[in-house]
Subunit: 255 residues, 6 copies
Amino acid sequence: MKRHQFSANSWQEVGEMDRANTTILIPLGSTEQEGTHLPLGVDTFVAESLAHEVAKETGALAGPALPLGYSEWFLEFSGTISLKLETLTQVLREYTSCLIRHGFRKLIFINGHAGNSTAVDVVARECTLSQSARIAMVEIWKLANLMAADIPDLKEKSFKHAGEIMTSVMLYLHPDMVTMDRARVEYVKSGQGPFKAKSSLGFADFKGMEIKVYEGAKTLTESGIMGDPLSATAQKGEMIFNRLKSYLTEMVTNF
Amino acid sequence: MKRHQFSANSWQEVGEMDRANTTILIPLGSTEQEGTHLPLGVDTFVAESLAHEVAKETGALAGPALPLGYSEWFLEFSGTISLKLETLTQVLREYTSCLIRHGFRKLIFINGHAGNSTAVDVVARECTLSQSARIAMVEIWKLANLMAADIPDLKEKSFKHAGEIMTSVMLYLHPDMVTMDRARVEYVKSGQGPFKAKSSLGFADFKGMEIKVYEGAKTLTESGIMGDPLSATAQKGEMIFNRLKSYLTEMVTNF
Amino acid sequence: MKRHQFSANSWQEVGEMDRANTTILIPLGSTEQEGTHLPLGVDTFVAESLAHEVAKETGALAGPALPLGYSEWFLEFSGTISLKLETLTQVLREYTSCLIRHGFRKLIFINGHAGNSTAVDVVARECTLSQSARIAMVEIWKLANLMAADIPDLKEKSFKHAGEIMTSVMLYLHPDMVTMDRARVEYVKSGQGPFKAKSSLGFADFKGMEIKVYEGAKTLTESGIMGDPLSATAQKGEMIFNRLKSYLTEMVTNF
Amino acid sequence: MKRHQFSANSWQEVGEMDRANTTILIPLGSTEQEGTHLPLGVDTFVAESLAHEVAKETGALAGPALPLGYSEWFLEFSGTISLKLETLTQVLREYTSCLIRHGFRKLIFINGHAGNSTAVDVVARECTLSQSARIAMVEIWKLANLMAADIPDLKEKSFKHAGEIMTSVMLYLHPDMVTMDRARVEYVKSGQGPFKAKSSLGFADFKGMEIKVYEGAKTLTESGIMGDPLSATAQKGEMIFNRLKSYLTEMVTNF
Amino acid sequence: MKRHQFSANSWQEVGEMDRANTTILIPLGSTEQEGTHLPLGVDTFVAESLAHEVAKETGALAGPALPLGYSEWFLEFSGTISLKLETLTQVLREYTSCLIRHGFRKLIFINGHAGNSTAVDVVARECTLSQSARIAMVEIWKLANLMAADIPDLKEKSFKHAGEIMTSVMLYLHPDMVTMDRARVEYVKSGQGPFKAKSSLGFADFKGMEIKVYEGAKTLTESGIMGDPLSATAQKGEMIFNRLKSYLTEMVTNF
Amino acid sequence: MKRHQFSANSWQEVGEMDRANTTILIPLGSTEQEGTHLPLGVDTFVAESLAHEVAKETGALAGPALPLGYSEWFLEFSGTISLKLETLTQVLREYTSCLIRHGFRKLIFINGHAGNSTAVDVVARECTLSQSARIAMVEIWKLANLMAADIPDLKEKSFKHAGEIMTSVMLYLHPDMVTMDRARVEYVKSGQGPFKAKSSLGFADFKGMEIKVYEGAKTLTESGIMGDPLSATAQKGEMIFNRLKSYLTEMVTNF
């Protein structure tokens, strides 16, 4: 018997699999502020749910989810727990090298948090250089952003931190963790000067061009929300989640 | 509203808590061989379940569980994913320092895997020296061992890797992940020589005294089982789990 | 006397400056394959030239340029010299902390190589968190891409590795280092499968959406060129360089 | 000529040995508080003496002793010099890898300080995994504890930090370093609460079960003594030391 | 076509070279106080100029210059930017290993700063042990010292930090960066005690013997000058520079 | 009572000392080839003996000796055990920071092995910058070299690795560890080429100037001897040792 959850199998069951042809889906999350109304674990919960659903459909295995990512810029918000980027990179290096040691050759990172991407890049490129494995990564919110454009009634067509897309997906997956009466509309604030902050990652606008000016997250947003979550619904969330799931299912099938 | 799962709360909800008096329970697991009949994630699953149950009872918060521990000696068994001890230590250092930064002062590690203990020791002693937090750790299997002695019908009174206690707890918590027809009785093998291996951690007997002689895990056990899981039942598992839960509940209340 | 090149001043001359109000421009480059016709040092040369020109205009100082960046995925091409991302991050951490120790509070990284960006992010966010300095970064090729759209006769409106924009700038700045008879048109190759590589950084297309599938650079491009450099001219290069220079001059003035 | 002290031989003399069949005994010590009446170097002195005596008997070689171990929790006591556990691990990794490079295949750590044990574990497991050497470790005080039970007149049958066993051994080996008029009886103190400290390593009792609650060493003991050294005598020390020596001699002979 | 500057060639041009027989000259500099009249980048500028001149003469390639070295003891002087020695060592390790990967086997470090020497030593010895490359290093100021003895009119026959030799070379290479009216005569100061400081590197005299007593650089020199730059001339500088160049040219030819 | 050996005192005895005015002598050694006739531990033995003798005379304390140094270039010779320079530096950083934590402010490294010097430099400069301690270092063989010039009958006036000075000192201190019938005269070999090796540290002569060309130690010397030990006598050794001891005694008294 093969269970879709990697660590729900015994070592012997793993050993009997056709490991070279079994894709491992590695969910990466974070524990960070996601606005006043969404739980700290949004990125982890969604990445993990997706990985499990897709594994069930495809015969891939969902590996253990990492609940801590690189979110150092949100440390001013209570409850954010961040690894250093160097530490996260080392964790991923050891995680993937163990899988490769066991004969797995196809790894897809299901990444719920943009801050983790470079750690994946670094490890994946090392594997590419040594030709030890074939590695891919999807950033789920970036993908959601691309997929949401034609969702009916979606007010906020582009993804915003703690905005309509993220809130909708959470209302679908974990409505008990969403406190809608703490939700409000807030956009990244920018001072009077000519540099206009665009996101908490450092992106800013100066004279119509995008550059980076790093500012403390607390100066950019009081609530941590950087969009409009008020029109979010579970129905929209279900639609977005299912699109992600379908896409990833096809992706795994073709990987 | 306060949810017992740390990352099910928003940053604002965390920020409104009486953080100095709220205990965080940090589940530590592993992804390693646990015999032919038990899943790789046993340590993580049990530590996480316990932390959640105890958090519900006590008002403590169950922090994100770490599913990778230090299990390097089991790497010969398919599916084992291990961090270096140095890496795990650094992860715990950053995990605890973020919590301390946010004002938490009471941390209890619910440790499902003995190999992780020294990483906790190192970080806890640093916190003690800097007087930044009060830290405790329970090793759940060691505790189960102490608590199981008078369980009726328990054949194996002392805890064995993948033996009756561990198997029983998993039959109670996750029967779907246990493949009893792969279970068998196996004890740590020792060759003809005068050094008798006692466990996969290196403990050995020489002339009646316990010392350490490090051997590859595959030479000590074929199945990964180091005891007798055949008499395990969900009922025994429930009893053990509930004792652990009661004990930890009292512990948190008094911490 | 104040020279625009940071290290052309003596320590005493630096000490006499109004350091809190003097911006340091830090050029970051790379030594990596830039196609068959362009020199390995393109990123360094352009970043350094820009920093110097802008410093002359504004009273900022151009700090020492780092000629090695993070380019590990190009190591299959002769001559590429790459630092590990962790090493580059540590170098930037020490570079900035020394400047901050001396009282400088305004740092702008003039980054000629996209692979370096995360190292800057990490260090800048640490400074933001400790409120020790105000830090910005421009990625010069990304900016060139935004600025080139309406350049007359520019065939390749979007920036390509070793393509028309980069080649033009080099024909303007260092024509002696460009070997146009080695130039040719080549685009990122992708095999027959459904995953279409889009760049050497791992970006790929699957069913119309951008994800990442990491592949060895040599399988993506023979020449290292990923665009069409054949229409490049020094005149276009001058125009692009001057736009970059004007923009940065304004940026520094307003920083 | 072969001298029992590893570093008393020249490189040529070492090179002429049957290295694959020569056991190296590696003494590990510490520099830490050992009560008011015992010197900081107890662990080092005893481990080194044992290694030398056993080497003389067996043809093994006593390698250089490391006088600094991992004792961070005693840093509040004057004179304690501790390495980080990560640093100690790296030192042991390099120490063993040099010996293995030279062809030695049998290493036994004579460990005088429990805090060092995990560093040995880590390195030994790496060697086991790579099958590069056969490694064992004895913790001398744990062994002394096992061996002392039937010593006549020994009041304190179980080993205590700076108690009767340790003091006796030092009275035998280095009476000049023992200041008996500073000796006194003191046991680990525990406050009024329900958690009762059992040792300086973090072990504590809660409701009859052993868990860990980390406390500053200075709150547990004023003198650093955690037992009763007053009945210690050189005669008892000689008996204990000789038992250790005999046991290790047999062990080496059979290794 | 082969350009003498390593990074002025394309990867293809590098790939076509007879790499095993082409020497790479690696200029190492610093950004540190060099007296009140000399620029922070003296070491970098001179090392880089030399490497380029020698490369032109010999067919060797001048690799990218590192402008930051290990100068931590000068951090009290404004503008000094220092790497940790460990960081510099790692940078050199990666720099050389990339070159070796590409087939280069002959590397000569043109080192403008004595503080960098051990980092080169460490990396070079590793290469020697693995027999991966042949490595040499020249410390240019030490060489200048040896070569200057018979220069006519040279008042200061031995090299001093910011003294006549260094100032002369800079007056020859970069007169615009020298502010002679800030030059003055200053020697390393030593207090009343029996230990007489001899240099900023820690060398001191006690009773006629050289030992090391480490002191803050600011207590040793106000201006950073530790000699007499007043008689420096461009003519002397040219003579010294040309001797260095001739010597290195012969060295490369024979390497 | 105060014992001259640091770790022969109890923590309480250390705590009662006038720590700010008590100098700690830290012996640094190595375990490396010292010729065919001298033991691997020469540097450690001599440094430790000196530190103890001087401590007895002066009221200083001899700290624990480190028997492993940085000797990587001798790894080809059986028995050499070397730390990485980075590891040694970290060990010294932790060693000194513990002493400083306990209130010691005067540290003198008695360094028996030139390869360790930079590690001391790095740590000492950090202490100087933070003004946490006053640190000095003597390299004993360099000092012996300076002091031996007028010793009657000394054939080899300058110090050579495993030559007359080192052998004489060992004949005085540890005659049982010297195997004179394995001694022979050997000087650093150099091939036919124009680069003449001068030592195993990389120093070489090219056209009368000293540069560095790194070569494997085994190509430089067969025996590891790089001088003439045949005229060594215990009498000469005693004279040299006593000069070192007197000098250091005066040094400590004045420190």
